[in-house]
Symmetry: D5
């Protein structure tokens, strides 16, 4: 069994962050996001137009693992996260009897 969550992540990097460190962190964030997708726990992600933000749908074994995945992101310290639990929609065409 897995649990489905909608996660919005808004990243805000301090303007006085060392530029070298910034480049490293942004690359590491991308690497970790690809890694989590390859693990199969992150079926959907989109960029929010006009924002340094991500809307994602994660499908995880447990709440503890969701927290572990999110807090393993290298930009975690600079990210505002909003987690919304999802359920099957009664009008989803794939969920009709």
């Amino acid at each position: 069994m897995t649990v489905l969550f909608h996660v919005r992540m808004d990243v805000s990097l301090p303007h006085d962050l060392d530029p070298h460190r910034r480049t490293e962190l942004v690359q590491a964030e991308k690497d970790r996001m690809l890694e989590l997708q390859n693990l199969g726990v992150w079926p959907h992600l989109w960029r929010v137009v006009g924002h340094n933000s991500t809307i994602a749908v994660l499908d995880v074994p447990s709440n503890d693992e969701l927290h572990a995945f999110l807090s393993s992101l290298p930009l975690w310290e600079f990210t505002r996260v909003e987690v919304t639990p999802l359920a099957t929609h009664p009008s989803d065409v794939d969920a009709q009897p």
Copy 2:
């Protein structure tokens, strides 16, 4: 070409709505939601746990058609809608070069 949008819909029916009308409207809403999915403009939808709410991703030919689709929902009058334009995410594993 199509345009991708994240749409959250929160339905709030007045408690003094005629019960017969309520049943009709809820069924008509479901029928229209299935119809729009079958049109291919509504790839994803989920129920928000604990709310009479839907999180959806729509993929539409234009803004005018998105507005036409949303306002064609029978519960439209009782729905608070929030529309967020989406773009390809630079860290989407399917968007890597």
Copy 3:
């Protein structure tokens, strides 16, 4: 495996609700709350002082079942719900190695 959620529920009954129906609904709500506790999915609940509100911790088999439990409450239509997923706290004395 189960999933843990923090749920705040704020009930607001319309002042023009039929008094007989109100009494019935309030009693049915209490009965259903006791029933859910006896099912073992509702380990904690408290009254918020000064509000017609409940703070609860639910421990459920899945998101779909959490939504089913919450929407089975007779006052569901009159309740604003806020759901927050919980994980084990790293400083919980019972979670120390």
Copy 4:
């Protein structure tokens, strides 16, 4: 086909930004805004009275390009952006049959 968006941009420069860098960034922002207008994707822009803010209407080929245009602005890092999709108004005198 193009897509129409209402965009509000609120710029907030850190007070401890190097004054030389600030002057460069502000000039580069102006140059890029003129360039985007000359590309034909930015039909309207106004200053919000009393704010270091812009209300704009953009007309773009796609959401991905809108995000690319906005994030290409040199002050992007210091700008809070709010994007609202627009459709034809049914009472627009130019849209009457």
Copy 5:
């Protein structure tokens, strides 16, 4: 001389409004909006996608007349209005020396 304003109007009709009165009011609103555009005080208007809302730019002889125009709209009583004064943008390509 005229003064430029950005106006967002969100209409919310009570669900128990008499249907005949509703139809009359909606038609009268449209007629008045066309009339004001023909007066030349309303250069731009758009529908906000997913909302019963209008984003407009008005160009009026005075604040008193702006208030008179807005409060002459037949749905005025059911409309939440937000007025933002606009000025020439320093990076407007048409305002360059």
Copy 6:
């Protein structure tokens, strides 16, 4: 003709601003405020009790000039401004026929 605006200004100086620069800026702000009052564009101003804030009524030839006046204040960079257009009140004793 002039246009009337209600303006609230909340000043927030960074605590690490150089003390000498702070003193200079505060004095320059006061000088400019007196100057604008002497120009006749600023008929009323009050201190908001308990805040480093001003409630003002300005009477200006145009929106562009209002923006120019406000952004000419030396503390402009550190000021949150809220502009509200005013009209004649129908119950103003001086506006009765």
Copy 7:
């Protein structure tokens, strides 16, 4: 001695108020507002453009009398009130030594 207050009043009349009662209340409100101005306790009032709202400055003998004046307004029951205490502004040209 008197005390100075900034008061914003937003009136929102229920759409199902009896039309005759509405006309009476609106006229009574106007009469009372003129009366209070003639008492000398209400030096300034303006209409907020686009709103059924008033921005006022009142100059009253005490807080108890301010509350009595405001709650004596016939539309008081339908009015959201925001009261802000005012003091002499240190940069008011009339308050310079």
Copy 8:
């Protein structure tokens, strides 16, 4: 031992409440408030200027009793309540060693 709480209560009566019932409820509320003060659990109460609101300080034997006192107020159903726990202030002149 007792526990100290700051309680703000904002009363909002529905405009279509039966006038006789309204008069009864308002009188009953006053009677109950006097009764609670005479019980010694309600040392301070003030009217918020411009609002049908009360700021109170209650000194109660327990949280359960505070909830019982507040929910025993006849206008409880029409009251928004905000409860803030208070402690001794380290700079209270009466709490100095």
Copy 9:
């Protein structure tokens, strides 16, 4: 005559404030608070549980003096203040005829 105000003060000290200066300021704040209480203008003050905040009731000769008292507090620059004018409560047991 005096005027009664409810004042909430939330103090937020920058974490990079020089520790010696911090200690001095905190002590000076306490001294000034004791001084104002001894002046008789500050009848009540409490600590808000869980916050570096004060809820106070001040009884002052005028708005100008209230502003002077508040802005004389050494931590004023780091304090968010909320001022609410108070009146006699009609259900205060000490105000009954």
Copy 10:
């Protein structure tokens, strides 16, 4: 007798905090949290998924002691705290007669 409180704590460490000091503070916070649990005043605590936040239930002898416990946490200076008093829930299965 003890008093029950729901406490949410959101920790936000400045990114420029000295890394050594950060490690020390985080360890000290954990030690103090374990200590308070061992004192018996802190029956429940959970991690909020996706946040550096804690939801806790504390059971304390008095408000003064609750404030003392919370402000004794080493990260207190960097923590936003929200305190909600709790009472016995009338539908708690353990509170039935």
